[in-house]
Every structure is written in C-alpha cells, then in structure tokens.
C-alpha cells in the first residue's frame, strides 16, 4: 500500500470528476486533471468560465457538488496547510487598520495555531518575504497608501510567508504596473526553481504563452491541459472562447504572435 502512496504523493493536486454549482446552477462540470509538481501553470478561459471557482473549490471555500479533490495524494483537508491561496485584490477593504507587515504576518497565522502569538522567527520570515517582493521600504505603511501593484505584492508576500508547496493565485496580474508584473514573474520563477507548484488564474492571452510552462483551458469544462506549446493553438483557444467575436480577434492576435518568432 505504501509503495502505491509514494508516487501519488508527488502529485500535488488531483481533481476527479469535479462539479461545482452556485445555487444549483452548475459552474464547473466534470473536471478531471492531475497537476504535476514543480510547474508554473496558467488557468485560462473567458469571463464566467469558473476559473476563480475552481481554485476556491480546491481551497474548500465553496462546497463541491460531486467528485473529489486530492492534495498531495490524500483526500480531505489534511494537506490544506501546504496550499497557499492568493485571493483577488478587490476582495478586501484596503482601509482596514493594518500596515504592510501586519498583512504579511497573517501568512504565519495558519502555522501558529490557536492562542499562539507570532515569534521572532515569524517576524524574520515575514520580513524576508517582504524583501522578495521588494516591499521592505513600505513595511510600516497603512495598506491604503499603496498603489494597486504594491497591494498585489503585499498579498504575494503573505502567501510566501505561508511557506507552502502549492500556490493558487487568483488574477495576480490584474491591473498591475510593469514593475510589479516583472517582480511577480521573477518571484514565480524563483518558486518554481524551489520545486513549488503554482496555479495562476490569468486573463491576458498574449502574455499567457510566455509566462507559463503549462496551460489549463477552462470554460465550465476542462477544454485541455498540457504543455503550453501543445495547448496554445488556434483551434484549442477557439474552442475555449467559443467563437465570440471580440475574443476571437484577441485569440487571432495571440496566435499570430505565437508564429512570428
């Protein structure tokens, strides 16, 4: 038995026949996918394709209608502590009375357990994570006094402070400046080099091709999943975006760029 568990333990995330519904209206149907470790993976699909829903259901934030999810080879929530979640920036109130370091420190809370306060070691980790996103000069700032990109980097630093093996990020590139985009990419590559697995919900097709090792095409169903080179084709993208005109032109653009170099 144990010999069987070993190889599956190396699969950080396995989803089988997953169906998720909001008030009995299905958003995701029968998703089957096994994510290999150490890869940087983009989740691509049109608005309302269920991209955010997928990672929320992996985190156990919304109930599952059918199917199962295994984290590091085991069902249930046993290994949820090894998964870090970066919500969309808009999901919180940035006027909240905390400063940048406070937010990053929240990444340590999951490891502390009840009644425990952050120790010197936790502060060191938080500070190091802040350094990785180049935000140490802003450690004392109240979080409303940051640009959108800086706020996104604070969220990333919080996820880093969790010291996890699987990272699920909901649109980290949405509305960020060029500096932040470069710093996020640098960070994702560093994580991948450490053998971490990263799933990123992404909405910009042209950049998707350059950023990710593998792509997951999603539109309520799993359209396809595999290495970027084999997935980023006109036919598959068209199938995902369902022939809608405006997006089709975007797809055409992206594919054209794909063939240029």
């Amino acid at each position: 038995m144990s010999s069987e568990r070993k190889p599956s333990d190396s699969i950080p995330l396995e989803i089988h026949d997953l169906t998720v519904a909001y008030q009995s209206k299905p958003v995701l149907y029968g998703i089957d996918v096994a994510i290999p470790p150490g890869k940087l993976i983009g989740i691509i699909g049109p608005n309302g394709a269920g991209k955010s829903t997928l990672i929320k259901s992996i985190m156990g934030l919304i109930p599952i209608e059918a199917g199962w999810i295994r984290l590091f080879g085991e069902p249930g929530k046993r290994h949820l502590k090894r998964v870090a979640y970066v919500p969309q920036k808009e999901s919180v109130d940035w006027d909240f009375p905390v400063n940048v370091l406070d937010v990053v420190m929240m990444g340590r809370y999951g490891r502390l357990g009840l009644f425990r306060r952050p120790k010197a070691h936790d502060r060191e980790v938080a500070w190091a994570c802040l350094e990785k996103v180049h935000m140490t000069p802003y450690a004392d700032r109240q979080i409303a006094n940051l640009s959108g990109g800086q706020q996104q980097r604070v969220f990333l630093a919080r996820a880093l402070a969790q010291e996890c093996d699987l990272y699920l990020m909901d649109e980290p590139f949405a509305g960020v400046d060029a500096t932040t985009e470069a710093s996020i990419i640098e960070l994702l590559h560093a994580l991948r080099a450490d053998g971490k697995t990263i799933l990123v919900v992404h909405h910009d097709l042209p950049t998707a091709r350059n950023y990710f090792d593998m792509l997951m095409l999603l539109n309520m169903r799993l359209i396809d999943f595999g290495p970027t080179e084999t997935i980023f084709t006109y036919e598959k993208l068209q199938k995902t975006y369902g022939g809608r005109l405006t997006i089709l032109s975007e797809v055409a653009d992206a594919v054209r760029q794909n063939h240029e170099p």
Partner: protein, 494 residues
C-alpha cells in the same frame, strides 16, 4: 413652487414655534435657577465620590466604555455597525420578559432574557436573508423595528401592572447609571473580563477573519465559530450596557468611540486602545452631566460626550482629520503657485538667453498676466521660501541656486511630459500643454528617469525648446565653477 409645497406641513407649526420662542426667556430662567442652586454642590459631590451610587455608576461607566469600545472596534472594521444597532433594539422584549419571569428587576433574569431576544433577532435576520429575496439591510431594518415595537408594548404593559416591584424598569429606554447596584456591577465586570480575555486570546483570528475572510478560511481558521462567538459576546456587551445607556442609544456607544478611533489610528491595536479611551471618557462624561443635572437620563449624555470627542477627532486628527487634510491641500496649492512663478521667471530668462541675472517684477507681472501687487506678493513668498531674492527697491527678482534648480526641474518635467505625450502616446503637439501643466508638479525623479530612458534622452520638447538635463540641474547648485558649462545651452545666472 416646490419650496412652498415642501414647507406646507410646517405652516401649522408656526404658532407652536412662536409660542416656544416667546416662552424661551421664562424657561431659561427656570433652568438657570434650578442649576444655580445645585451646580456647585453637585460638582463637589461628584468630585468627592462620597455618594456610593455615584461610585457604582462610575465603575459601570468605565467598564461600559472599555467593553463598548472594544466590541465596537471589531463591529466597525467588520462592517457590522447596523447589526449592532439591530441587536441592541431587539433585546427590549427580552428585558420585559426577564422582568415578567418573576415580577421583579432581577439582573440575571433580565440578562438571560435580553441575550436570548437579541440572538433570536439575529437568527431571524440571517434566516430572512437566506430564504427569501430580501437583502440584509431590509431584514435588519424590519427586525430592529419589529422587536423594538414589541418591547415597547411589553414595557408599557409592565408599567400598568398592579403588582411587582417595577422601580428602575423605565430606565431601560434611555439609561440611568445611578440605578446600577453592586450586583449589576459584578455582572458587568464579569462580562467585561470575559470579553477582554476572549479578544486577547483570539486576537489574531479576529484580526485575520475581519480583514480577509476567504484567506482566513484558506488557512483553516474557524471563521464561523469566531463570528458566532463574537456575536454572542456582542449580545452580552449590549445587554450589560442597557441599564446605563438604554436600549435606544447603546449602539451609538458601540459605534461612535470606534469611529473616532478609526480616524485616529492606522493599526488595529491602536484603534482598540483609542476606542476604549474614548468609550471611557464618554461613559464618565455622560455620568458626570447626568449627575449635574440631577439624574437626567445617562444615555443621551454619554452619546453626546462621545459625539463631541468624535467631532474633535474629525477636525483635529493628525492624519485623517479635516484640518490636516485642509493643510495638506493648502500647502500643495502654495507649492504649485511657487513653482509656477519660478517657471515664469525661468521662461523670461530663457527668452533673454540667460544674459541677465534676474528678472524685473514688472516683466514677471506681464508674463503672468497679474497685477503688480499680486506679483510682488508672489515674489516675497518666493523669498521667504529661500528660492529667490528681491532687490532693495523690490524692482528685480534673482533666483537663488536652489530656486534655479527647482525652476529647471519644473520646466524639464513639463517639456519631457509634452515630448512623451507626442512621441509615445501620439498626441498632437498643440494638445499637450495643458496636460503637462498639471503633471509637471507631480512627476517624481524615478518617473523622470524612466521617461528620459524611454525617450532616448531627447533634448528638445515638441515645440523645439531645449529640455534641461540632470547635469544642468545639478550644476545649478554650484555657482561660479560651472558658469558657461551648461550642456544644453543653459548657463547659470551669476
């Protein structure tokens, strides 16, 4: 027409208002007499703390202030202020039921009854929201008014009952701290201690679940338990505050100190501390004024004290106060005015190919299209800021090295931005000036470096005028040494 229509209902009230104004003098006299007799004595009695009832009242006020401040802080940051309001009104039928239980004012029975009623109100709100199309604010408004109405009916019935010891029951509406007894203080202290230790123990869970619920869930924090525990604690806090503040105004004691603290602090633990301090000050202040006025209801005075403190914070808070904001805006406006004046000086000097050391005030007035008087004021303002010096008769203005640097910086920002708009954003050259007029005061050095790089260190603006480079600006600081060595045809005035 419209105004007339709006004012119509008030027409009938005019005689009443006139009567009220007419009798104002007499009334004021009466109040004056009443206060005159007792004000000094009452103050001495208050300060000496001789009255045991007053000691209980003050202890109650302090506990209430701390408790309401703490709970209110979380209420405000969790955006549950209306929920607090609803619970506080929904407890009233429970208070009445607690009395009817054994027909006397038994603090424990009232505590249990009121807590149950408050929680029942909350459950009803969540059921209504979940199972009907109604939204939360509608459900809250309905439950608040509905429960309160039932409570008022029951209280009215109790007042008419022939039996039972009803003394003090009428105090639950507006509060009377002087009615607090030893037993009540004990219960208040107990609940206060429980709340304090709960918040201390679960501080980080409360913090993270208030800030980011889905993240808190994702790190396995029992968000729902934390929420329910908090609501239970809130119900207790409201119920024990009832006798001192009254049902109607207890929500104000929850929200106003926390709102005040929100203006004064940027971190949670400071906000908690401030809220407690404001709460205690409001509580004690309310008791003081109620005592001076010989047992007037405490609740309104507490809320009034809290409101005064809030108003003070609103105006004078160091960072979020109106005064601070006004000052910031004003200093920004002044800076922009100074910078525009420097720019005008620079333009005149540039027109004369930097052959003259300074500019005449008249020329400056002409170029800015201002009166001589206004321009003189601007010049003096520049002198005060150390950016320029005026000649003896105030006829000519000379830029200091510092002023020259500022002027060059502004001109560079302006021209660089114009260049950026025409080259990178494809604006027509005649569209860019107004835009640059605003941007020039905002551009930071980092952005400027980026723009320069992106524009390949271009040296002319779209209208053919030279853009000062970083070397030009730096060399303006030195005086004689760099004379005539400007890179783009700029020389220092010497």
């Amino acid at each position: 027409m419209n105004h007339r229509g709006l004012l119509k209902p008030f027409n009938n009230l005019w005689p009443l208002v006139l009567f009220w104004i007419g009798t104002w003098q007499a009334r004021a006299d009466r109040i004056g007499e009443m206060v005159d007799i007792s004000l000094k004595d009452q103050f001495i009695r208050f300060a000496s703390l001789e009255d045991p009832a007053l000691r209980f009242a003050l202890a109650g006020g302090v506990i209430l202030g701390i408790l309401c401040g703490m709970m209110g802080t979380f209420l405000v940051v969790r955006k549950l202020s209306l929920v607090g309001d609803t619970i506080s009104h929904a407890v009233l039928p429970g208070v009445a039921a607690g009395f009817l239980w054994n027909m006397e004012k038994d603090p424990l029975a009232i505590l249990i009854g009121a807590t149950l009623a408050g929680l029942m109100g909350m459950v009803l709100v969540s059921q209504l929201t979940r199972h009907t199309r109604l939204k939360e604010d509608t459900a809250l408004g309905m439950i608040l008014a509905g429960f309160f109405g039932v409570g008022i009916c029951l209280m009215g019935m109790i007042q008419r009952l022939p039996t039972g010891n009803k003394s003090g029951m009428d105090k639950f509406l507006f509060g009377q701290a002087a009615a607090l007894g030893w037993q009540e203080i004990q219960i208040m202290a107990l609940v206060g201690l429980i709340a304090l230790s709960m918040i201390y123990l679960f501080y980080k869970e409360l913090l993270v679940s208030s800030f980011d619920v889905s993240f808190a869930r994702s790190i396995r924090i029992p968000v729902d338990w934390i929420h329910h525990g908090f609501m239970l604690l809130l119900a207790f806090a409201i119920v024990i505050s009832l006798e001192a503040v009254g049902v109607v105004l207890v929500s104000a004691m929850l929200i106003i100190p926390a709102a005040t603290a929100f203006l004064l602090s940027d971190r949670m633990h400071w906000m908690l501390l401030w809220a407690c301090m404001v709460g205690v000050m409001a509580g004690v202040g309310g008791i003081f004024f109620s005592f001076l006025g010989q047992k007037l209801p405490t609740g309104p005075f507490m809320v009034l004290s809290a409101a005064v403190l809030f108003a003070l914070a609103l105006f004078f808070a160091p960072r979020h106060g109106m005064l601070a904001r006004w000052w910031l805006r004003r200093s920004r406006t002044l800076r922009i005015q100074r910078e525009n004046a420097l720019k005008a000086v620079f333009h005149i000097m540039e027109k004369e190919a930097f052959t003259k050391e300074g500019v005449t005030v008249i020329a400056l007035a002409r170029s800015k299209g201002q009166t001589l008087k206004t321009t003189e004021m601007t010049c003096r303002e520049l002198e005060r800021a150390g950016l320029a010096t005026l000649s003896h008769e105030e006829k000519a203005l000379y830029l200091t090295p510092d002023g020259m640097r500022r002027a060059q910086t502004i001109v560079r920002n302006h021209r660089l931005w114009e260049r950026y708009l025409t080259d990178a954003v494809n604006y027509a050259p005649d569209h860019v000036h107004d835009d640059a007029e605003e941007i020039e005061h905002i551009l930071g050095e980092d952005t400027v470096r980026m723009l320069e790089r992106q524009l390949n260190f271009v040296d002319r603006d779209p209208h053919g005028k030279p853009i000062p480079t970083i070397q030009d600006i730096a060399s303006s600081g030195q005086t004689q040494a760099s004379k005539g060595q400007g890179m783009s045809g700029y020389r220092n005035p010497s």
